[in-house]
């Protein structure tokens, strides 16, 4: 499996989108491109499984390595382990769904799809790269498409949101940049993650650099208190924008925290784990409570994302193998779930032209499909067994519970407590939108989902239910990679 294929397909799709003329062509080109990428991701997944089954014990498979700039020792170095494979699968699911739900965008269609594809290209590149420089390149590349997506196609106070998002993410990447350069010099002019992971970096340096990297990626993944771009950004973004933002983009941060900050600087991680745990416990509970008070569905899901992403940060900071596996599963699960959530909110908004919970009601009568999906995704969010959220959260909890001192236990209990609050706000959202009497007579004539919306929802549901019913394939995919990380933390 040549990994360049995974970058080539989106690149080609993007170029084709620019070349074709009509809106219909743009849509179909993007859709076909995204589907091809989905197939390629599955091919990668199966190829990866075959390699593993063939006892290939290399840390990264299918490596591709070209020298980019010799003077700086920058390499275009790609490779995948279980984590990357899972993340790429997640991305391709969300991309296909995102393209499908945007089918009716009439304003500047070509630009819209081009930016979506550019954004996805950034994500794919990020998950594939094994060179810090290239990784950073792809990370930053995904920032501006987000800005434009929100700014041009957004709603509400989109100027403010787009600016805030771009600037805060830029702030995050500035921190990453500093940390990355620090690593580069300490490691003897080395950007290669594999090489850097073999180095013994002195504890002092690790303590110095770790905050830069972790906070930097933390901003991307809405680490408290750098989460404030999330609610505004999500609520202003167009549907596909929110889906990409929450489903993919926030995962870049989580992946970076793990792959770069924790993996390369284990001593730093140990030093700051307590602080991370405190911050993410706050994020989990506080995010949940703030969600409870929201009236706007998008704000609701944005804050709940803060809370849910907090689980993965919390689990990472527990530094045990199970917890890290759980963190990754939570990232995947949350990516699918939140993308679907935003998709559904978008579908509802397209019809009712409101996102205010208390203005809706009884939608189940007029749009059974959409509300059923809404129920399912809500249940996923509150951790119902059979859906991906449960599996991920349980892995997080079990992993966190393994660390036996009162501090970690208290944090875990706080995290578990949030599932009650989650139930409160999810049921509130579902109860007052889908159930109850129809409040607005004009809602009585609304139409249910169109084929593209149905397809998008089904694709994401396949992911959610697939993980929820048979989680072990995902767990087995992630576990060896998580083990390598924990081994480095343990100093093995």
């Amino acid at each position: 499996m040549n990994l360049l294929l995974l970058l080539g397909i989106p690149l080609l799709t993007g170029l084709l989108v620019l070349l074709v003329s009509t809106k219909v062509q743009v849509r179909w080109v993007s859709f076909v491109g995204a589907t091809a990428q989905l197939i390629a991701s599955f091919l990668l997944f199966f190829a990866f499984r075959t390699e593993i089954a063939d006892q290939n014990t290399a840390q990264f498979l299918f490596e591709v390595d070209y020298t980019l700039i010799e003077s700086f020792n920058i390499h275009f170095h790609l490779g995948v382990d279980g984590i990357s494979v899972a993340m790429i699968l997640l991305t391709s699911f969300v991309v296909v769904a995102g393209i499908l739900v945007s089918w009716n965008i009439e304003k500047m269609t070509k630009e819209f799809y081009f930016l979506l594809i550019l954004l996805s290209l950034g994500a794919y590149g990020f998950f594939l790269s094994l060179d810090l420089f290239v990784l950073f390149f792809f990370l930053e590349m995904a920032v501006i498409p987000k800005y434009l997506l929100i700014g041009i196609w957004g709603s509400g106070k989109k100027d403010y949101s787009a600016n805030k998002l771009a600037l805060m993410l830029m702030g995050g990447s500035a921190l990453i940049l500093v940390g990355m350069l620090g690593l580069y010099f300490i490691g003897g002019h080395e950007f290669n993650i594999v090489h850097l992971s073999k180095l013994t970096i002195s504890t002092d340096y690790q303590h110095l650099i770790f905050p830069f990297l972790f906070l930097g990626f933390g901003v991307f993944t809405a680490l408290f208190p750098f989460h404030t771009w999330v609610p505004d950004g999500h609520s202003s973004a167009p549907t596909a924008g929110s889906m990409f933002l929450a489903g993919i983009s926030m995962k870049l941060g989580g992946y970076g925290c793990l792959r770069v900050a924790i993996y390369l600087l284990p001593e730093g991680a140990k030093e700051y784990a307590h602080i991370i745990i405190v911050l993410s416990s706050i994020a989990i509970l506080y995010g949940a409570f703030v969600t409870m008070m929201q009236k706007d569905l998008k704000y609701m899901n944005a804050y709940s994302s803060i809370s849910h992403v907090g689980f993965s940060l919390l689990a990472m900071a527990m530094l045990t193998q199970t917890a890290i596996t759980g963190a990754l599963m939570q990232m995947i699960s949350h990516g699918l779930m939140t993308a679907l959530f935003f998709a559904v909110i978008g579908m509802i908004y397209d019809r009712t032209h409101t996102r205010m919970v208390d203005e809706m009601g009884g939608l189940m009568k007029t749009m059974p499909f959409i509300t059923t999906v809404f129920f399912l995704v809500g249940f996923c969010s509150l951790g119902l067994p059979g859906l991906s959220g449960f599996v991920a959260e349980m892995t997080v909890f079990v992993g966190s519970w393994q660390v036996d001192d009162w501090f970690h236990r208290a944090a875990t209990i706080a995290a578990i407590m949030s599932i009650v609050v989650t139930a409160v706000y999810i049921l509130r959202a579902i109860g007052s939108t889908a159930m109850g009497p129809i409040k607005n007579p004009s809602f009585a004539t609304l139409k249910d989902a169109t084929w593209n919306e149905k397809l998008a929802a089904v694709i994401l549901l396949i992911g959610i239910i697939g993980i929820g019913i048979a989680p072990s394939w995902l767990s087995n995919l992630l576990k060896p990679a998580a083990e390598i990380i924990t081994n480095r933390i343990m100093g093995k």
Binding site: I69, L167, A174, L181
Partner: protein, 465 residues
């Protein structure tokens, strides 16, 4: 003799063109429409010629020397001039003194080429003046505009004052060491207070030309008042030339003082980034806006300079190349709009994308490159500068530089927002873009996209040392 032609090739070509234009001027009037393509062609030839027959060596008792890096730098300058001649087509066709304009610009270019090759302080001073005085005259080229003459006045007075300071510094250096030859100075330079003072006097003149804070105050006024062609020349070609010379002078001549100038560069770099960014935040006029943004960019260049290494020099040269294409693209768009509608304010750009998608994309691409957003080349340029600057291990410095990228992103996005997002009842109508302008914009855009990704370009510059 053969050596003379080889080594001074660029200078000679430029001189020949200047004389050619003088003769044309003497002869009967040729319409601008006919003359301009010819000049553009000649400048293209000049640019292409700069790649061939480059040899290392020196002339006139080391007063003039050249090597492959200098030759490359000269090619960059020639490219800049060529692109400006293309981008300003609209304005140049209207101007009543076309040959004079190019005579002045090429004189300045000649000065810069000599400056790059100068081997002692006398040649250095002469070529610096040659590179400055014509620009002051060029600033006044919109003869009837009040602002143009104000800009020219500020330019000439400030630069005369700064060259006075420079000369005072040179005289002190001469008094201390007894020599004005670059090659001899490092041996004779002592760390005495007087020498440091002389160095600062000398350095201030560089800082003035590069518009480093706090010597930058003329920049914005002159940029705003001058015709866009001049502004772009000033901000791109002139700045590049001075930056290149600064590199050689600091790491060559003042190597013994490197501990001192490192501190100076770091402080001024931070100041430039901060002040440039803070002022750029509020600007309405696109030229003034780009003036302050270029001040901030200079702060970044100084990060690379502070690295004081070969790879640092390469990064600066590389960055200047990227900065040039990016800035020229931005100025090119501004020039098209300004010439056809007279609008120069950012608020006038609202809704530009609606009728002029090409201009919108090019401007956005240019601004993203200036802001250092991948996949544009500016990202690579800035990152290399930071990487070389970070070699000294000053995390605070690098952090401030990185944080400044956030502020700068804010105001670049302001323009992008105006172009793409903001609504406007009367957006700029569809503009006609002349072929040469289109060509230049195309070249700039392609360079912005490809210069960074094609890593071998950097390696090529690195191999020139």
């Amino acid at each position: 003799m053969n050596e003379f032609f080889h080594l001074m090739k660029t200078e000679l070509i430029v001189t020949i063109i200047i004389f050619l234009l003088l003769f044309i001027k003497l002869g009967k009037d040729i319409k601008n429409e006919q003359l301009l393509p010819f000049i553009q062609f000649v400048l293209l030839v000049n640019f292409i010629a700069s790649f061939f027959y480059n040899v290392d060596g020196s002339l006139f008792g080391d007063m003039f020397y050249t090597n492959s890096l200098i030759a490359f730098e000269k090619s960059i300058l020639s490219l800049g001039v060529y692109l400006i001649s293309l981008l300003s087509t609209d304005w140049l066709k209207k101007t009543s003194h076309l040959p004079e304009f190019f005579i002045l610009m090429l004189s300045a270019l000649l000065g810069m080429c000599l400056l790059l090759s100068s081997g002692n302080l006398l040649i250095f001073y002469l070529s610096l003046e040659l590179a400055t005085i014509p620009i002051a005259a060029m600033s006044n080229f919109d003869l009837i505009k009040k602002r143009s003459s104000e800009a020219a006045m500020k330019m000439i007075l400030s630069s005369a004052f700064s060259s006075g300071i420079l000369l005072f510094g040179i005289s002190l250096i001469y008094g201390i060491t007894g020599t004005i030859v670059f090659a001899e100075l490092p041996k004779l330079a002592d760390g005495s207070s007087l020498f440091i003072m002389a160095f600062v006097f000398l350095f201030s003149s560089f800082a003035f030309k590069l518009s480093i804070v706090p010597f930058h105050l003329w920049t914005a006024d002159v940029y705003e008042g001058s015709p866009i062609a001049v502004t772009s020349f000033l901000s791109v070609v002139s700045k590049a030339a001075i930056a290149f010379v600064l590199l050689t002078v600091l790491s060559g001549v003042f190597q013994p003082l490197q501990d001192i100038w490192y501190v100076l560069i770091v402080v001024l770099s931070v100041a430039s980034m901060l002040i440039g960014n803070l002022f750029a935040l509020r600007q309405e006029n696109i030229k003034r806006f780009l003036a302050f943004s270029s001040i901030a960019q200079v702060g970044f260049i100084l990060v690379g300079v502070s690295g004081n290494s070969n790879i640092g020099i390469s990064s600066v040269v590389y960055f200047m190349l990227i900065y040039m294409v990016s800035n020229l693209a931005a100025f090119g768009v501004a020039s098209v709009i300004s010439e056809q509608t007279g609008k120069e304010n950012i608020s006038d750009y609202k809704g530009l994308y609606k009728n002029n998608p090409l201009l919108g994309w090019v401007l956005a691409l240019a601004l993203f490159s200036l802001a250092g957003i991948p996949p544009t080349a500016g990202f690579f340029g800035k990152l290399y500068l930071l990487t070389t600057g970070g070699a000294k291990g000053s995390y605070l410095f690098i952090s401030i530089a990185a944080l400044n990228m956030i502020i700068s992103l804010f105001y670049y996005l302001r323009v992008v927002r105006a172009v793409f997002i903001d609504k406007n009842d009367q957006p700029i109508e569809k503009l006609t873009i002349q072929l040469p302008v289109k060509l230049a914009l195309f070249v700039c855009s392609v360079s912005i996209v490809l210069l960074g990704i094609m890593g071998w370009i950097f390696d090529h510059i690195e191999s020139l040392h």
